[in-house]
């Protein structure tokens, strides 16, 4: 990161002066990096370390932790003790099913967002320059409203006396309302709706960069429109698709409000389970251990996905 002038000076200077200059440059680099490092350490790693530490402590009677080392929190993530005989241990099926539901719902949300987001982004990328900004603006409008309010709005639409059911019944298509609220379906609808823009925007950015002449070239070389999409568009917007998928998957797997409002009490996801431990459950170490587990799952998913996605490396890196 030396400037040209510095390099010129270094060239002209005798060897020991050169070494001193290099040292000074190194010191200055650390000085310049310092603010970023402070933010990273304090704001990102700090709280994480606290959570990690709490997961190895003992729960306090009224919440909080007692400073006594204990692996019980981590133990309870995976195993349950019999109420009458604490020595009898079995796998914690309730936790396993919540983990599974969270991963599965987050994955399904990502797929739905990709399927809806791809044509949406394509549509916007192919509008004339003037109207594109307007469409992008429209896509981001939902972000203006509070998440909770938007989620309640969805509840209004899909509940038994809600818009969808009343219209279907008025049309005579169904006799009794379809139970949609408080199902996994409701959670999926809610999350897909909330996170769709996070898929559309990076996809759009990738499509906007796509050279239309590449599509013409493929079309000229006997590819049908579908094959142009498959062989040229898809590989070239893959970075956008990956970015969008990550942006959707991570908040989906940690979603709290949506499963709470649309899934009712019955359909828990991980974040709700964690909240339960810090609230009613009064078991902070378990909550902390669950939170760390969630983090590990996300990191693992990211790792697998990036490995899988970069199998044939980034096209622009050649």
């Amino acid at each position: 990161m030396t400037t040209v002038r510095e390099r010129l000076q270094a060239d002209a200077a005798p060897p020991d002066a050169e070494a001193a200059a290099a040292l000074a440059a190194g010191r200055r680099r650390w000085l310049l990096l310092a603010p970023a490092l402070v933010v990273l350490v304090l704001a990102a790693s700090g709280p994480l370390l606290v959570v990690l530490a709490y997961s190895f402590l003992t729960p306090g009677t009224f919440g909080g932790v007692r400073w006594e080392l204990s692996a019980e929190g981590w133990f309870r993530v995976f195993f349950a003790r019999d109420i009458f005989d604490p020595e009898t241990v079995r796998l914690n099926h309730a936790h396993a099913s919540i983990f599974w539901r969270s991963v599965s719902l987050a994955f399904q949300t990502t797929v739905i967002c990709a399927l809806l987001g791809f044509p949406t982004a394509w549509f916007i990328a192919n509008r004339p320059e003037r109207t594109r900004a307007v469409w992008l603006f429209v896509i981001t409008i939902p972000f203006w409203t509070n998440l909770l309010i938007r989620t309640f709005a969805i509840q209004e639409v899909i509940r038994n006396e809600g818009l969808v059911n009343s219209v279907l019944m008025a049309l005579g298509l169904i006799q009794a309302p379809i139970q949609m609220l408080y199902t996994d379906f409701a959670i999926l609808v809610g999350m897909a709706y909330v996170f769709l823009p996070l898929m559309v925007l990076p996809l759009y950015a990738a499509m906007d960069r796509l050279d239309p002449r590449l599509l013409e070239a493929a079309y000229d070389l006997y590819a049908s429109r579908v094959r142009v999409l498959w062989h040229v568009v898809l590989p070239l917007v893959k970075p956008g698709l990956i970015a969008g998928s990550i942006l959707v998957f991570i908040p989906s797997i940690g979603a709290y409000v949506t499963p709470r409002v649309l899934g009712g009490g019955r359909n828990l996801m991980l974040a709700n389970l964690i909240e339960l431990q810090f609230g009613q459950g009064r078991n902070w170490p378990l909550g902390a251990a669950l939170a760390v587990t969630l983090l590990v799952i996300v990191l693992f998913a990211l790792f697998v996905y990036l490995r899988f996605a970069s199998k044939d490396e980034d096209p622009r890196r050649a």
């Binding site: 050279d211 002449r213 590449l214 013409e216 006997y222 590819a223 070239l236 050649a318």
Partner: protein, 380 residues
């Protein structure tokens, strides 16, 4: 090519066809293209009629914005004509998408697929045609050899030079053996040396494959050196079609004469006119024979413009034109003399430099003689 005997036979057959003067490969009739509507409407092509013969190297030449790309894109199928018809190999291609026309394009920007290697790029068309993998591999290897890119087969476009990308783009368009190859200023992004090299390469490829080339350029020298025939375009119209020699020596109108090469324009009066020959009186009073564009019958006594190429005139003891040298520009092999004529107007001539002699200095009085058949009457 030697490995592929059938291709050789096919090639020869096509070239014989071309030599025989010509089955039509592309026929364009009354082609008109209007972009936009109402007050914003722009006529990019205006009643274009054109026939490209099988196996020939055909060039579209014209200034920027004259509609060359538009014409090419309509042949390829990227744009729909507003009016008129295009026939390729006798078949009307209206309504056929680019993927269903036996035509491939080499884009100015090459448009190589960045996520594929050179070899994969070249094989793309054949794969899309559903050819068996063995055949695709053999053909790609042949194409790599043809454009001399075997060592770069597994490189991505970003990792090869501009000239190499250009060759891959050529190979990609040639691999499916289209009837016609369309090339939109494929050399304009290259530096002069590479450009000369690629001009030779293109001619060689065209000769080896026998495929009809339709080549777009606005470089007149490139057009003259490479083409079998040239169509000169201006503002959406085709002004003249002919061999490079015909276009250069016998331009039909002022635009063509001016656009191609350096030209001297002289005002003259027709003395006599028979068929494609006429005698004209130059401003100096000299009477000379001049050739006349086809179908133009100048009326005796009428005023016409005649052209003389700079190399069709020479300094002489006695000649038709008299003037004073204004400027002498040294070009190495020759010197360009800009002469102010006594009868008004300027005249440029090219004088070859010989060892030991000297071109006239500015201010020298000179007499210019126009070569036999160096005069050409233009359409008004």
């Amino acid at each position: 090519m030697a490995a592929d005997g059938t291709a050789d036979v096919e090639t020869r057959a096509r070239r014989d066809g071309a030599a025989a003067g010509g089955t039509a490969e592309i026929e364009i009739v009354g082609l008109t293209k209007v972009f936009g509507r109402g007050s914003e409407a722009a006529r990019a092509l205006d009643e274009v009629n054109l026939t490209v013969r099988r196996g020939e190297f055909f060039t579209l030449l014209g200034p920027s914005g004259c509609g060359k790309t538009t014409l090419l894109r309509m042949i390829a199928g990227f744009e729909q004509p507003t009016r008129g018809a295009i026939r390729i190999d006798g078949r009307d291609v209206a309504g056929l998408g680019p993927n269903r026309r036996p035509v491939n394009t080499v884009f100015q920007s090459y448009a190589l697929f960045p996520h594929m290697t050179a070899a994969e790029n070249i094989g793309f068309g054949l794969r899309m045609l559903g050819r068996p993998r063995r055949e695709v591999e053999a053909k790609v290897a042949e194409m790599l050899r043809l454009v001399r890119m075997e060592p770069m087969a597994n490189r991505r476009p970003a990792a090869i030079s501009g000239g190499q990308q250009q060759r891959v783009a050529l190979a990609r368009a040639l691999a499916p053996r289209p009837r016609v190859l369309l090339l939109d200023e494929p050399l304009s992004a290259l530096d002069l040396k590479l450009r000369k090299e690629m001009q030779g390469e293109l001619k060689r490829l065209q000769a080896e494959t026998g495929i009809t080339f339709v080549f777009v350029t606005h470089d007149q020298e490139e057009a003259l050196t490479m083409s079998d025939r040239i169509a000169v375009m201006d503002r959406g119209r085709i002004l003249q079609v002919g061999s490079p020699r015909a276009i250069y020596d016998r331009p039909a109108d002022r635009f063509v004469a001016d656009f191609i090469g350096d030209t001297n324009f002289l005002e003259a009066v027709v003395v006599r006119s028979v068929g494609d020959a006429a005698t004209v009186r130059l401003p100096s009073g000299a009477v000379r024979a001049a050739s006349v564009p086809e179908g133009l019958a100048p009326v005796a006594g009428g005023r016409v413009t005649v052209v003389v190429r700079p190399e069709h005139a020479a300094l002489a003891e006695d000649g038709e034109l008299v003037g004073v040298v204004e400027e002498a520009v040294y070009f190495g092999t020759d010197t360009h003399l800009h002469v102010r004529l006594d009868t008004g107007g300027r005249f440029t001539l090219r004088r070859q430099n010989m060892a030991g002699d000297h071109a006239p200095e500015p201010g020298a009085a000179v007499t210019i003689r126009i070569a036999e058949s160096g005069l050409r009457v233009l359409r008004p």
